[in-house]
């Protein structure tokens, strides 16, 4: 008969926190939009019109009136505007058709964004399987519960304030035109203009947040946040207590991820460095090598350092011991599900299939995945004599992580190169963590997501060929590096500044995320240890934490239960 050796804390601060949450959940929906601000469109009946009608090259159907009388091409633009006005007056039916077309374009993009978002959601299952398979059998239930609870609690934190922090000011510098521009997200809580630090609209997804376009963006972005939220499981599992884990999830969903996400995707200061400090196109990360994976990976690293390695991982001589995966079937299946979900992750980040670059992105993503797996497998074979299945899977995932930032900006051949580099990085990273710095990472999350994520952002600065991304972050709208239509460009194609911006931004991410996480959770650890007691860790966390083993039929406990049922 097992004794309950480990109970949950039920201190007063937990009760207060829950009360605050319930009160704000009741009050939140009552927040209405302010009168003199853009009005939210919750029914989606005023989103998408002739103003959102563009041709393939991105030229708008509607010609806007030029406002700057001192501009050199003012006369030309004014003439074009006058002609458009005259034409529009003569053909009112065409204008109505343009309204329909504009709406249809937005509707197409909504479909795209939501469906790719659902694919990313499915990656939760993939990661759950992958990490569960990589740990010991006695912790299988614990791993599944961590992955499950990660989705639940990080989502709620993102609803309360995460989305608002990340995208509250999106309309200022980073309006998602493919979704109608989300004009109600127009305020920074911290900072302003080109130096935004935290968004301030859309708390509890109410008032200005209760809008069809905004919520389309929310669905897509929340599943990206969830990806960062579950990454930490891979490094902290088998020894983190459940209450501490929930705190980590609230932290990631509510503050850590949204803050960096605001700076890069929400129109915040990192993305505007091109305009503010002349740093190429500013810091560029297409689908989140650093925003998602780097943040997850380095947060995981900080937590793993605070927790310390698993009991018995390192012998008295400092040599590492192996804890073999309990189910390789889960590991490979999980990897395939993640690969499939990544077809939503990268191509979806255009926020619309009206952007035909999506096909290039999809192919680049797959190429890097395969190149990463192959390179990791071969390198491991050359070093150790047998290709390790788990390292092959980690290699594929590293390839996927590393292509996530550059996928829209590179050629397929570059994608293969990036994958090869990622496979090497993950192999060496795993050995480095385990043998050199003694940071215990059961699933390789730090290497796959942290190190390869950093690599991905840097690869934008190396391999981007300028074929896509003209006007990115508001830089080089009419021309860049002397060429009209030149997009995001890297070192190999002549843009040194972009390379240094990428290295700087990615490194800054690593330091910020590791530092912030380490600070907060070292403090928490002082008040109450994040780690489970020794006896719990040795027994396996399934029963002490959750009361049920993942495989009850392996244990006499279930046999007893079955027996008593038969008696009654």
């Amino acid at each position: 008969m097992r004794n309950v050796t480990h109970t949950y804390p039920r201190p007063w601060f937990l009760k207060i926190a829950i009360s605050v949450l319930l009160v704000s959940a009741t009050i939140g929906p009552m927040i209405v939009a302010f009168a003199d601000e853009p009005q939210p469109d919750p029914a989606g009946i005023s989103t998408g019109d002739k103003g959102t009608t563009f041709d393939a090259a991105g030229n708008a159907f509607v010609v806007t009136e030029p406002t700057d009388k001192t501009a050199p091409d003012y006369a030309k633009n004014k003439k074009a505007f006058d002609e458009f006005q005259a034409q529009a007056a003569k053909e009112p039916l065409v204008i109505k058709l343009a309204d329909n077309v504009g709406h249809l374009r937005i509707a197409t993009n909504f479909t795209w964004t939501l469906l790719t978002g659902y694919l990313v959601l499915f990656m939760q299952a993939g990661f759950a399987l992958l990490t569960c398979g990589l740990v010991r059998k006695k912790n299988a239930g614990h791993l599944m519960m961590l992955n499950f609870a990660a989705y639940v609690f990080a989502f709620l934190a993102y609803w309360v304030c995460g989305f608002a922090f990340q995208y509250g000011g999106a309309a200022i510098n980073a309006a998602p035109t493919n979704l109608g521009g989300t004009p109600t997200l127009n305020h920074f809580l911290l900072g302003g203009g080109l130096w935004g630090f935290l968004g301030g609209r859309g708390f509890m997804l109410s008032g200005p947040g209760y809008d069809a376009g905004v919520l389309c963006l929310t669905l897509f972005e929340v599943v990206f946040m969830e990806t960062a939220a579950y990454i930490i499981v891979g490094a902290i599992c088998e020894r983190i207590s459940f209450w501490a884990f929930l705190l980590c999830e609230l932290f990631i969903g509510g503050l850590l991820y949204p803050s960096f996400g605001c700076w890069v995707w929400g129109g915040g200061w990192l993305s505007q460095l091109g305009q503010t400090m002349g740093l190429a196109h500013g810091y560029v990360d297409f689908a989140g090598s650093t925003v998602v994976h780097g943040v997850g990976g380095f947060c995981a690293m900080a937590l793993s350092v605070i927790l310390g390695p698993r009991l018995g991982k390192y012998g008295p001589d400092g040599k590492a011991r192996a804890f073999p995966a309990h189910n390789l079937v889960y590991v490979v299946t999980g990897t395939f599900i993640l690969l499939f979900g990544w077809m939503g992750f990268n191509p979806g980040s255009t926020l619309g299939s009206s952007d035909l670059r999506v096909s290039v992105i999809a192919v680049n993503t797959n190429l890097s995945a395969c190149a990463g797996a192959a390179s990791a497998m071969f390198l491991w074979y050359f070093i150790f004599g047998k290709p390790d299945i788990t390292m092959a899977c980690n290699g594929m995932l590293a390839g996927l992580v590393a292509i996530t930032a550059p996928c829209a900006f590179v050629t397929p051949s570059s994608a293969v190169m990036i994958g090869i580099l990622a496979g090497i990085v993950v192999d060496l990273g795993v050995l480095f963590n385990e043998r050199v710095i003694h940071v215990d990472d059961p699933c390789g999350a730090i290497s796959v997501h942290g190190y390869a994520g950093w690599l991905g952002a840097v690869c934008v600065g190396i391999f981007a060929d300028g074929a896509y991304g003209a006007g990115w972050n508001g830089v080089g709208v009419s021309s860049y590096l002397g060429k009209a239509g030149q997009g995001v460009t890297g070192l190999l194609y002549g843009d040194y500044t972009q390379f240094f911006t990428q290295v700087g931004g990615a490194t800054f991410m690593a330091i910020y995320v590791f530092g912030f996480t380490y600070l907060v959770f070292s403090l928490v650890n002082v008040f109450r240890p994040l780690r489970v007691p020794k006896e719990v860790e040795l027994e396996g966390l399934d029963v002490p934490e959750f009361g049920l083993p993942a495989y009850p039929e392996d244990e006499l406990v279930a046999a007893e239960a079955a027996g008593s049922l038969a008696r009654a």
């Binding site: 590492a320 011991r321 192996a322 804890f323 073999p324 995966a325 491991w380 070093i383 150790f384 047998k386 390790d388 788990t390 390292m391 795993v430 050995l431 385990e434 043998r435 390789g444």
Partner: protein, 112 residues
């Protein structure tokens, strides 16, 4: 009455079962066990870290025989379980104090 415990290769279980049946032995109990004899363990690698594999999976068969059937049973097991390679296993013979059939409470030879 004798108890025969035989540690054999898992892949030989079917063959041994057939030959015991042919030799006239009714009933047997099978355990999945791990063990090693004079054969040493070997090291494998998991994500670059060595771990030793000392124990080999084996099967332990337990049969009860009357004294007359002992040699026939031992020969049946030996011949069918042997491959000639290290790791074929061992047979242990012990004396049986008593045996009881639970359903009918028979004891001794009738219960085998």
């Amino acid at each position: 009455m004798k108890r025969i415990d035989a540690v054999i290769r898992p892949s030989k279980l079917d063959e041994v079962k057939e030959s015991l049946s042919a030799a006239g032995v009714t009933g047997l109990t099978v355990f999945e066990v791990k063990g090693y004899g004079r054969q040493k363990g070997h090291t494998e690698l998991y994500r670059g870290t060595e771990y030793t594999v000392d124990f080999q999976p084996k099967v332990l068969i337990s049969v009860l025989v009357v004294d007359d059937l002992l040699e026939a049973a031992v020969k049946a097991i030996s011949d069918s379980a042997r491959t000639g390679r290290i790791g074929d296993g061992k047979i242990f013979i012990s004396s049986l104090e008593d045996v009881i059939r639970i359903r009918t409470s028979e004891r001794g030879r009738e219960a085998i």
